[in-house]
Amino acid sequence: MKKLILILLGCLAFACENIIPEPPAVDEILDGPIDGLNSSEQARFLAGDFAFNDEVFSSGTGLGPTFVATSCGSCHAGDGKGHPFTTLTRFGQTAPNTPPNLLIGGPQLQNRAIPGYTPEILPEGTPFMKLTPPAVTGLGLLSALTDEQILTNADPYDLDGDGISGVPNYVNPPAYFVPKWFHQDANGRYMGRFGKKAATIDLLQQTVSAYNQDMGITSTFEPVDPFSGLEVDQEVSDQTVRDVVFYLRTLKAPIQRSQNDQQIIQGKTLFSQIQCGDCHTPEWTTPTSDIVALSNKTFFPYTDLLLHDMGPGLDDGVTEGSAETFEWRTPPLWGLGLSPNSQGGSYFLMHDGRASSIEEAILLHGGEANSSRTKFESLSAEDRTALIRFLESL
């Protein structure tokens, strides 16, 4: 008996070394703060993390009554790309620079309702676009860029003749928008940089709008309930909204994996050679920011944050701001290879999740990306694999 107890205690002592399950590799997960936050910023990050990932709204805490999702984390599991389960449907604006038709329920469909209520139904024959939730990592770095930096890549009239234009989406700011030093006023409009159509100027607007349109949660910023169209008491505090914005600003950027792998290096070269990088701009550097950890950082999001004509195949007949219906903002490619970890093991790529693989997504590129797509199609199988592996490593 004593021997048995000794063996058991020995096993336990051994087990103590490995009691807690191993953490996943830091480059395999998207969540976590950027390096360099001080202790008060870390505390604020945690508060935002809780509000974003753990706070669930119910009918008792203001959900809906019509809504799309019950929490931020429902759409952005692990801060990554979302699943068709929480895809948004937008409608009501069919031409650039026209106001969304709010009379038919736009700009967003609230396709779910709490018990006892009827969800919104898309008016018959109305054009609409489906939008799969994007990853939210690294947004602070993108938000720290100046309008001037982004406009450096704009070429609305394709003056350089490369077939690629790149235009900003100028949108009317919400009443609560306070321009920062790096925003440029364009006759009362401002350049959007977030969202599939780049129709959102900053992360406060993104957060407030998501609370309101996705969850039916009102705030002092957006006090109108999307179901009744009436102003109601705020259902999320200003502090919580600000904490979530801070969380989004300070989430780390995805970390590229296997950077020294020869095939991935070859894929990176091909990415540049077939001109994917002309829109998916690899590298940016932030100016000085109010958050020290975001200041003067070079990062690799693979986006130019501008709109591009993507061809008739991706024209849903609906738009936002000054974007044409066939124009889409270049989505960041960082974190692309980790998408299945937040999309339930599969890829749901492009703006509406229609592509189930990276290769399929490339082949769906049209318009300004025709040339790059054709070059991709003409690559050897080996080169295609290298390019895909590079994209998966991001």
Binding site: M1, L4, L8, L12, A15, C16, I19, I20, P21, E22, P23, P24, E55, V56, S58, S59, G60, T61, L63, F67, A69, T70, S71, S74, A77, G78, H83, P84, F85, T87, R112, A113, I114, P115, G116, Y117, T118, P119, N341, S342, Q343, G344, G345, S346
Partner: protein, 408 residues
């Protein structure tokens, strides 16, 4: 004024303490009717202590534990808890009328709840009337949940969070037993207050029956005027073991108020199977339970809230040493293992046809030492994986738990 009140109370307490004579405390003899006890007898099959000739006997149990747990490499560190401290008071008003209450203080008194407070009237062994706060006999664990009876620090998740435990309500019902040689048959049937809308509208982001426990008003009135039926039948063979089949169901939502229709009537149905047996050759004790939950969730609500759930657990307990150990005459040292599984949302996504995950499984190897049958010291290692609704890579949770639990 408080000072003047405090003084006499304090003096009285001193005198009262001085008057307690331990020789007056006597163990209530074990009720021989429980030598062939079934799960349904669990509320009375507990040790009690009687003080002198007082008509009431008292008892209870306490649990205290330590844990060092972590998820995906991150730990909250060392934690000590007193998850529950429970008091029983029982009284025989007549040989055929008895009363028992169970009051539980959870998490150091953060929650105080009446888990059981019922009067039992026996007309015939097959016909007993029970009324008051009763524990709905769904599965076995809800009625047989006392900490000292188990070799594990944590309660099984499926039987405490999928099925709510301890789930008790105000109501009335009948129960009875019939014995024939090595066989015993028992039944229970109750009508009680029930659930409410919170089971599909809560901060857990899933169909969560225990959310209804937050509504303390359920002890005063039904949330919707519709009784919840809970029934169970069980068969026991002294050589084979016991198997129980139970059902709980009714309208859960508030569909009407002040004569105005708020929603359609929506049902909740729960089915559970439980068993326990001892393999006589090895003295291996096996106990398990499995349950299915069906909830009418509005089609236009979120699939986050599942219409179907399933889950259960199996405990395997192998005594490896019995006898005189560390100064205790009838000590038992056991190895044990618990296997758990819960699927919070059985079904597939309308949008993709893919499986809805939202599930977990756990393996809990354990060592337990019972110096006496009413006291257990247990050391567990818990390893658990849980997936979100989309089926993304699971969160891995693990750690050590050590605890004491004893009747007193």
């Amino acid at each position: 004024m408080k000072k003047y009140l405090f003084l006499p109370v304090f003096l009285f307490a001193l005198v009262a303490n001085a008057q307690i004579d331990s020789t007056l405390l006597k163990r209530v003899p074990v009720d021989t009717s429980y030598t062939r006890a079934m799960n349904m007898d669990a509320v009375y099959n507990r040790p009690f202590l009687q003080i002198g000739n007082l008509p009431a006997s008292i008892g209870g149990y306490v649990e205290a534990d330590y844990q060092y747990m972590g998820q995906d490499g991150i730990t909250e560190g060392h934690s000590f808890r007193i998850p529950r401290f429970t008091l029983f008071v029982a009284s025989s008003i007549h040989r055929k009328i008895k009363f028992l209450s169970e009051i539980e203080l959870e998490e150091g008194g953060k929650q105080i709840s009446i888990e059981f407070a019922a009067l039992d009237l026996t007309f015939h062994p097959l016909l007993n009337l029970r009324g008051g706060v009763v524990m709905n006999p769904i599965g076995a664990f809800n009625q047989n949940h006392d900490g000292p009876k188990w070799e594990f620090v944590d309660r099984p998740i499926a039987m405490t969070e999928m099925l709510p435990a301890t789930w008790s309500n105000v109501g009335f019902g009948l129960y009875g037993k019939y014995y024939s040689k090595a066989w015993a048959f028992g039944y229970e049937a109750y009508l009680t207050n029930g659930f409410d809308n919170s089971i599909i509208s809560n901060n857990q982001n899933k169909t969560f029956l225990p959310a209804a426990k937050e509504n303390a008003l359920r002890f005063e009135e039904s949330s919707n005027g519709q009784p919840l039926f809970t029934g169970k039948i069980a068969v026991r063979n002294n050589k084979v073991g016991e198997i129980g089949l139970s059902y709980m169901g009714g309208i859960y939502n508030r569909f009407e108020e002040d004569g105005l229709v708020l929603d359609a009537k929506r049902r909740l149905d729960v089915l559970a199977v439980d068993f326990n047996t001892t393999i006589s050759a090895t003295k291996t004790y096996l106990v398990g339970e499995w349950a299915w939950v069906l909830v009418d969730v509005p089609e236009t609500y979120s699939q986050q809230y599942g219409e179907r759930q399933k889950g259960g657990f199996v405990d395997i307990v192998q005594p490896i040493l019995r006898g005189k150990l560390a100064g205790f005459d009838k000590a038992v040292f056991s190895l044990a293992c618990r296997l758990e599984y819960v699927d919070w949302n059985v079904g597939s996504f309308e949008e993709t046809g893919g499986n809805i995950s939202d599930d977990l499984w756990a393996v809990v190897p354990a060592i337990s030492f019972r110096p006496v049958s009413q006291t257990v010291i247990r050391l567990n290692y818990r390893y658990m994986q849980q997936q979100d609704i989309l089926g993304n890579p699971p969160a891995k949770i693990g750690g050590v738990q050590f605890g004491l639990s004893s009747y007193f």
